[in-house]
């Protein structure tokens, strides 16, 4: 980059993007895993399938039925071979770093479809549309919880308290919607309750410098005890008065809702689900395209540098933590007002922790977290769906329930490359 000799001659600097080569060890590991998984799929799902064809139902109950029939064993076997081929290519040549994740995602989809072919080969129809619909519904609270977690953690405050924020939101939503006979009031109360718990986290983490992971665990305990106490003392004895908020009914979107498969899956849900779509976009834009987002990320990565250029580190962190709590509280509102229609003791049952797993699985990016949440939601839907399907060999549903946690364990163990949190995540800032 020398200074040009003559002013007429314009110097063109071509900067090559130099990608560090994928390490051999990682390439071999990923490749051999893909080969093994593919071979297993060929043997188990292809050869192991009953002779017959797999029938996939591709629409919701309301529309005209539209079934796709494929030869089960053959399809599953071919899909398995595709995964083997991907693995072999990875072993021999190696995919570029950026493509690896798409390759892994593609392999995963192939394996899942092969599995479904196998499961359907014994004669039952797999309702794909219903399965996807259920996946979305299970994923919505996880998406919201994960977005809440990301807002906190991107600014440098570890949020293990998603579970507590969700639970408080669910509780306040049900209580206030019942008292006011208005679902909107319930949603507002849920958001405020989540924000309040977020504020508690913020005060203790930022003002009193308490270890944030410990704090999160204790706040979860506190939320569990408080909501459980008031539930037993007040809501359960007078359920009609304090715990019958009602549910948001589904509002199909006029044009989009009529698209064959996508419509029923995405656009025939209730308002809270649509709000989730909007929130995903808003968080994405806000975090990566606005001044506030830049400041948030700066504070999360290098608070001292941010402070030096005049950003109010503590204020940003406080606001973001409260905002994150609000979003997690909204997830709670979805549970009571968007799905179940009443509050139950400990009704989040670990969803906050799965949302935390989705944050890490998605590497602290909103899109990644949404992907992870959808994956977890799909595993959940598959688990319930499989109890109806007569598979050639009955699979214990508990193993499918285990799948998201196993996947997260593999991811944090660095199977898909090292995950890296925001650099200052969890470190209190003291001037």
């Amino acid at each position: 980059m020398s200074i040009a000799e003559s002013p007429q001659q314009e110097q063109i600097i071509v900067r090559e993007v130099v990608e560090p080569p994928v390490s051999t060890r990682r390439r071999v590991t990923t490749g051999s895993l893909l080969v093994v998984a593919g071979l297993l799929a060929v043997l188990a799902f292809g050869v192991g399938a009953d002779k017959g064809s797999a029938v996939f139902g591709l629409n919701a109950a309301s529309d005209t039925p539209f079934d796709v029939t494929v030869p089960a064993g053959l399809t599953a076997g071919l899909l398995g071979l595709v995964v083997v081929a991907l693995g072999v290519y990875q072993l021999v040549r190696g995919f570029p770093r950026r493509q690896t994740r798409w390759v892994v995602a593609g392999a995963l989809v192939s394996l899942v479809v092969a599995f479904l072919c196998w499961a359907a080969s014994a004669g039952s129809t797999v309702q794909i549309t219903g399965l996807l619909q259920q996946s979305i519904l299970s994923a919505v609270p996880l998406v919201l919880g994960a977005l809440g977690g990301i807002l906190c953690e991107r600014s440098g405050v570890i949020n293990v308290a998603i579970e507590g924020q969700m639970l408080s939101g669910a509780f306040a939503g049900a209580l206030f919607a019942s008292v006011a006979h208005n679902l909107g009031v319930g949603v507002l109360a849920a958001v405020l309750a989540g924000g309040l718990v977020g504020a508690l986290l913020a005060v203790f983490a930022i003002r009193y410098l308490v270890n944030q992971v410990i704090l999160g665990v204790v706040i979860n305990l506190l939320a569990l005890g408080l909501t459980g106490f008031i539930y037993d003392a007040l809501m359960q004895p007078h359920a009609d008065q304090y715990n019958s908020p009602g549910v948001f009914s589904a509002v199909p979107i006029p044009l989009l809702g009529d698209i064959p498969v996508v419509g029923p899956v995405l656009f025939q849900a209730n308002v809270l689900v649509y709000a989730t779509y909007v929130l995903v976009v808003v968080v994405n834009v806000a975090l990566f395209r606005t001044r506030w987002g830049l400041r948030t990320r700066a504070v999360g990565e290098h608070p001292k540098a941010a402070d030096t250029v005049g950003i109010k580190v503590l204020r940003i962190r406080f606001v973001d933590t409260v905002l994150g709590g609000c979003v997690a509280g909204f997830a709670g509102a979805y549970l009571t007002l968007g799905a179940v229609g009443a509050f139950g003791k400990n009704m989040t049952s670990g969803r906050g922790f799965i949302a935390l797993a989705a944050v890490i699985f998605g590497r602290w990016s909103p899109n990644g977290a949404v992907g992870a949440a959808l994956l977890f939601g799909f595993a959940d839907a598959l688990q319930t769906g499989l109890t109806i399907i007569q598979a050639p060999v009955q699979i214990p549903s508990n193993f499918l329930a285990m799948a998201p946690y196993l996947a997260t364990l593999f991811v944090v163990a660095g199977l898909g490359g090292r995950v890296r949190a925001p650099a200052a995540d969890g470190e209190p800032y003291v001037k």
């Binding site: 570890i158 203790f204 270890n211 706040i219 305990l221 539930y231 797993a357 650099a423």
Partner: protein
Amino acid sequence: MTQAPVDEAAQPAPSSPAPGAPRRRRTALNTALVTALALLSALVVGAVLIAIGDEKTRGALGYFFAYPWDAFSFGWHAVSAAYVALFQGAIVDPSTLSSGDLGRILAPISETLLDATPLICAGLSVGLAFRAGLFNIGGQGQIIIAAIFAGYVGFAVHLPIVLHVVVATIAGVVGGALWGGLAGWLKARTGAHEVISTIMLNYIAYFLLLYLLSVPGFQAPPYGQAISNNVHATARLPHLLGSGLRLHFGFVLALLAAAGTWWLLNRSTLGFRLRAVGANSAAARTAGMPVESSYTVVMLLSGALAGLAGISQILGTNPAITGDIDAGFGFDAITVALLGRANPWGIVLAGILFGGLHAGGLQMQASTGTPVDLVVVVQAMIVLFIAAPQLVRSVFRLRPEQAVGQNLAKGWNG
């Protein structure tokens, strides 16, 4: 996160020079004061909740400004009745004293110590990991796996009377150690943060248990309920206070474990290494200590201690394994370890305190109808106040003092 809020100064260290002693005594006094005030504050918060939860008090609040005395008197009655029941359920019921029946007099204490047993064991597990700079949230999973191992040996194997319980105990300890050690090994090998891996291992253990509870051979006939076979009488821990009271030998094991942990931390080379790694892993590495293998070792030990809690649950308290064999002790243990400031004897005291709250809470619910969840709130409030000593000091206008090891919270990358 390498350093939990461990009050190093609260540790008696006899070998250190004399000039530090007065300061150390003052800090210890201050620590005790903060603990007492935290307990008091938590009970006050609990009292407010009891009053709100009480039907009559709520009614009186409706006309509070017209006649406030009603709200106060009803509230006072509700609160005092609940706390008296809590005391009677946890320590002693004065009405039984005159009967002279030792079994009835000691029953509350027996229940308190029974609940304290797994709390102490799992609390030691969390506390030991704290001292080495790790946060073990995996108590639940380790308890479950230990219960599976010990329970399986307990009902599937036939052995002579003393040998059977010993073998089952060892099996449980090994199970817990393996499950905890897995998280430590993952951290040592790949850098996977132990908080996430232990949470995930909790769920994996839980669903594994649910699966096993549906498998004939593990599940008890007639296979209708998710419950395992009963542990044979030969594998059960003996009762301590006669067969009428539920307190069992697990409590002695817990005390032995506390003594062992104290010895390990304060008297052994390994303990010194673990504490050094916890205090400053970079310095420990520079001094030539194997930091990575320390993670594996401490999580193995920590898992073994949590395994003891599982043993107490399956060989002592419960006859068979169910889905909630861990009974939330894995998470309660974190509060125990924090209240005990990661000091083995402090953990014993904290475990007995929370055991008393548990046992008393059940009595409170039975006799006054105050939901037992109140205990969870009180427990969480205590720890919240403990974890933020500056808060308690500013509320009660104590002299501010630099808390040792408070500002060292590190993030996921640490």
